[in-house]
Symmetry: C2
Subunit: 294 residues, 2 copies
């Protein structure tokens, strides 16, 4: 496959033309790898903006016609809609259309795909997750360089067609991304820790302010850059994160509980005025943070 | 006091010439409000760097001589050292020296001051907290604009000399800061929520990775910008944060417990697969975050 020529996508169909879908379109277009982009989405205003900004070439609300001759179908809607969309596209998918997605959870997306897609379509389905994004959503947040130097995790199945996998790899590489492949369950476990749990903690922090006996605006007046960065992800789409949390529910619940045990341990050190213990926890935390990112 | 001329500090003494102490020196120097700066600190390398970078004019390790003719004494060491430093400086403080500090907690600093300082010195002591900083520490992290447009909270006492308060206000304003005054207990309550709790949560997150059954480096390889920002403050000084947590222990413990109750509520929504409830929490969190900072 290494010597294969760069893929050229005559027709790309994107379902969900938001931050991720829009950025994928912009990046592939800039790389000269795509000819025509059809967008499908729920929000007419957002779709109109996507058309005006030339992120897509046409808007469609008809899966049957949109999917005719599609070389690539990119699913970039909130993961909670996967089941519905899989059921809707399935009757219209051509056998050679390569399908990939951008869902933040992978096991649930695969379950939906296995339930609704034909054996032939499943072979050309490459589950994927670009680990990139901002707390903003919608096509206006799309950026041509969103995926540059970011990780994209692909979680191919046993029955995955290696040629389809190779093409999806090349497309992401054209967006500037670094590709990793792993099993879907490993992906979901890792992301529960490094993404889903922090989002829950940040949302909880902001919700907590909302319920605080103090006036939130008075509290926030004196909040500094630490609080700003800590809570940035609480500005993320509530629908998208509701879906992610429910899609990866079991693993996320496990992580919330384990985190809570850790928090209780820190609480106990504080209750016991254990200076050494407290400093040790903070020291280990600082070391691992600094070794990772400086 | 409004018509008073801009204060000119002939001799400024800074105890703890790190991020905060160093930035204060740089900003006052740039504003032309200080003539000579004497620095006192524990770490000889850091002090040498402060001297080489012209943040201070001289290094001293002798409180008795350093405090002679000091117009202003700025305490910018970790709050855990306050007790020790107050005891050490007290015998050498001149009655007209204005004293202020940068401690992230205020009630404990005031208790130390009341215990060690004379009535005359207490009148010229202005407890303060510049809400500015980065996760970095040491004089190399100091920035001339660190306090620009940042809040500085002053928590004067009943016996505070209004002229001393006014001078400290003017100095902070010269650094570009916005001044608020409030009671020390209100300060400590607010900061427990918006600063101390998030630090504990972020440190706990990184410590949790350290203890995870997964290899932390494998986890972190796939951590994105959300995780990066959420955990930035876990790169902060362990000693400083140990001290802050212990200094504001009662209030912080209260906040950890209340936060935990909120987290349990989110956990319950997830356990019950309560889509609406979960989205509502995230929605309220997102709204309050977006209304605050966009």
């Amino acid at each position: 496959m290494k010597n294969q020529t760069t893929p050229h996508i005559k027709k790309l169909v994107i379902i969900g033309v938001g931050l991720i879908g829009g950025s994928f379109a912009l990046a592939l277009r800039q790389a000269g790898m795509v000819q025509h982009i059809t967008g499908i989405g729920r929000n007419p205003e957002n779709m109109q903006r996507a058309l005006e900004q030339r992120v897509i070439d046409e808007i469609s609300d008809n899966y049957a016609t949109a999917l005719i001759d599609a070389d690539l179908l990119f699913l970039a809607m909130p993961v909670g809609q996967t089941e519905l969309i899989m059921a809707r596209i399935s009757p219209h998918l051509e056998p050679n259309t390569i399908i990939t997605d951008a869902g933040s959870t992978k096991q649930d997306v695969i379950i939906s795909a296995l339930k609704h897609l034909t054996i032939h379509n499943i072979a050309n389905f490459i589950p994927g997750h670009p680990i990139a994004g901002t707390e903003q959503s919608g096509v206006t947040a799309a950026q041509v360089n969103l995926f540059k130097d970011k990780h994209v995790v692909l979680t191919p199945l046993e029955q995955t067609n290696p040629e389809a996998l190779e093409i999806v790899c090349q497309l992401w590489q054209a967006c500037g991304a670094k590709i990793s492949t792993m099993h879907a369950d490993e992906h979901d476990q890792i992301l529960a820790i490094t993404s889903h749990l922090p989002h829950v903690l940040a949302f909880t922090m902001m919700h907590y302010l909302h319920h605080s006996t103090n006036d939130p605006s008075n509290l926030l007046r004196f909040a500094g850059s630490g609080f700003r960065d800590f809570t940035r992800i609480a500005g993320s789409s509530p629908e998208m994160w509701r879906d992610i949390c429910l899609a990866n529910r079991d693993e996320l619940l496990k992580q919330i509980k384990t985190y809570n045990t850790e928090l209780k341990a820190v609480q106990a050190l504080l209750e016991q005025k254990d200076q050494t213990g407290l400093e040790q926890v903070f020291q280990q935390a600082q070391t691992i943070r600094q070794n990772w990112y400086n």
